[in-house]
Amino acid sequence: MIEFDRLQKSKLTREKDSVLSCFHCGDICTDQSTSIGDKLFCCQGCKTVFEILNVNELCDYYDIESAPGITPKTDLIADRFAYLDDESVREQIVEFSEGNTEKVTLHSPAMHCASCIWLLEKLHDMDQRIFRSVVNFPRKEVSITYNRKEMALSELAVLLSSLGYEPLINLDTVGKRKQSSAEKKLYLKIGLAGFAFGNVMILSFPEYLSRVGEVDPLFKTVFGYLSLLFSLPVLVYASKDYYRSAWAGLRTKTINIDVPITLGIGVLFIRSAWEILTQSGAGYLDSFTGLVFFLLIGRLFQQKTYERLSFERDYKSFFPLSVTRKVSNTEAVIPVSKLKRGDRIVVRNQELIPADSVLVKTGALVDYSFVSGESDPVKKEAGDFIYAGGRQVGTTIELEVIKEPSQSYLTQLWNSAVFNKPRFSKLNNLVNQFSQYFTFGVLAIAIFASLFWLQIDTTTAIKVFTAVLIVACPCALALSSPFALGTALRIFGDKGFYLKNTETVEALAKIDTIIMDKTGTLTEAGHDSIEFSGAILSEEEQQMVKSLVQHSTHPLSQKIYRALAAVTSIPVNDFKEISGKGVQGVIHGHKLKVGSGFWLGQTHSGTNIEDLKTWVYLSIDDKIRGSFLISNVYRKGLRPMLSKLLEQFKMYLLSGDTPREKAMLASLFGSEESLHFHQTPENKLDFVSRVRKTGAHVMMVGDGLNDAGALRASEVGVAVTDDVAVFSPASDAILTGKNLYLLESFIKMSKATMSVIVVSFIISIIYNVVGISFAVTGKLSPLVSAILMPASSISVLIFTTFSTRLRAHQIGLYKMKKGY
């Protein structure tokens, strides 16, 4: 059995320990021809990188991690990055430029391990013109300071690419520096609140630990004023966001969780300040600062962001930055943004077509899979209209631009209403629904209790009123959901399911309908493993088969064509393609047939519904020579997962592709009624909106630009991708393709998380009942408050994180350490 697995160069399938693995990247070496000494390399590209590193004495790279390298792209054209030297483009990318020194931050998704960090920070050892380079690994960015007089930006990009770390520069990342100031501010707020909390607590100790009259009143006054001073920045700066959010909620006539929090914070501070200034008591400032401190920690925990991922990509991120323009037979690389109507452009193999245009010269084969979901490349002739977004397969073509990139057919989708509406209404989440009843309940208790005390003593009545509001401040309540959801988010993240925010977990728990795309979502686009069973094909036989299937546009023929290594093609006589059966032809006097089993007289039909595999048989001179097994077209674990999902959810399939695999898909999705083929991006969007109008909670699972509208229109849009760092349309969640089979567990986990939150609500209510029972009797001392508040917060925090992990462990998404 020969392995034709050359297309699948995925890192997951690497056999690192194998004898024949590449010293540089760890991929399997097909032969031993490329080597230096005892070190084998899978290709010339890897060998070149090793040579560069060897010359520069940077081979420590290989000691940090074994086989850390990335195969550089072989078709590296020197002027691919020439557009970077265009002044307008350069200005957008460069961060800082003064005299000789220039600083640029480039995104390089290929970096993946400690060796990568090491090498990228040693660039200055390799090239004297580079002064310094610093890696930010979570963002997969490298900031490089270099001599701009001696080194062009394009040279820098070429240097990185030659090492395998090709910088990813597209219209979306250019000119939009990420703002991290929000997170910085949160750190500052936490620092400030923590500082105040610690100091106020120490200043409160004498009050707690002494009996009345034992402390010098002067100390009391000084400590009180100092505490007030520490608390002021917490009141004014650190808890600013809560006021803002509460106010925003009230303006839309909704009571969110921040309303009772703001009420609690406000009452806490006013009463404490009043007690201190009138010297009638010690106040609750330690509770106040502690409350804000814990709340902010909860906020930080919730703010788990995946910096290297982008959930907001629009069409611009998918387009290249540069294009080769042809003006009177001279080619020049220009930025796509400068492309005008009527320009002639040259598009090479595997390049994207950046604008709607008309084909001028030679037949094109355009792969629209990313745009339309159609898996087969489309043949185009001179004069044909070609939409932007297609990928050219094969020869170099020449096009004339009809519309500028920003006005192309593809970008029209983004003008649709769904893209201009705010995505989520935060107001209907569980916590906020609950906080409405909570707030009114607490207010009612406070009013009734103070009315009762009013008949006895006015001062006590005021004290009781404020004490109820203080002790009922829903700190534990507000912390339970960030910690439970934050933990779920981290567990998902470890399994390659990256959620945009914690609200998505809640939305995920409510899902009752799942709509799926086919190409790229259920299938692994372009990743087929093809095996030949039978006696090994000789080189001549391979050449003959390749030459035969070359003439067929059938996807299976194309796959076999791509898998065969033989290079030269030989002429085929009497070529015939019989639809539904196969192809035949005569080469060197031999009669070759490639096609289905039935056609070639086999009992086996060729497709096996059970394991989603396809056999293509080969006969030479009417004798069966063997068969190609084309498998792995569908992602692993798909059938068991889909059958589990089918029991719980309504399932639909929306595909831009032809109904070729209808029968097989019907067995996966239950019935043929739920399958929809030939769907345009607009069709998909409309379908999702229609299903949602019936009251269903829809999750859309898709991958390409063609699903962008549907992803956006659904409640939870999940983008499936094989390379999380590179391409994914705007969505709520990004899922690594190889973990698609865990989708059912993810939904189960979201539901479990929501029930954990409900239980923690009950716990925090119990704390509130205890606190309120102190408060209504007028006995809430600062000490009781100072103990109750952190105790309730911390216990809820421990309960939620632990039980969320426990549930994840039961579902199989998380492995708990022994001893629990």
């Binding site: 070149t48 040579e51 560069i52 010359v55 520069n56 004495e57 940077l58 420590d60 940090i64 020197a78 400690a114 960090i117 090491w118 920070e121 040693k122 050892d125 390799m126 090239d127 004297q128 890696v135 930010n136 690994f137 979570p138 963002r139 070429v158 240097l159 030659s162 991290s180 997170e183 910085k184 750190y187 500052l188 620092g191 400030l192 500082f195 100091n199 010098d216 100390f219 000084v222 100092l226």
Partner: protein
């Protein structure tokens, strides 16, 4: 007993210095990347045996390779 005010003045100064240092560290971007420094610190320095000769050579070599 009033010595306590002086002690408090000292402790406050010290704690304010720490707060200041924290604010500076956040502002200067030390919290921007919490992962890479943990890896970076483990790298050994490379021993450059023939760095002086090879650096000029390295420059030429690279241009060939690109």
């Amino acid at each position: 007993m009033y010595i306590i005010f002086m002690l408090m003045a000292f402790s406050l100064t010290a704690s304010l210095i720490f707060l200041g240092a924290y604010i500076w560290s956040v502002r200067s971007g030390q919290y921007d990347d919490k992962y890479t420094p943990s890896v970076r610190i483990l790298f050994d320095d490379i021993k450059h045996s023939k760095k002086a000769e090879s650096s000029s050579e390295a420059g030429e070599n690279k241009e060939e390779n690109i």
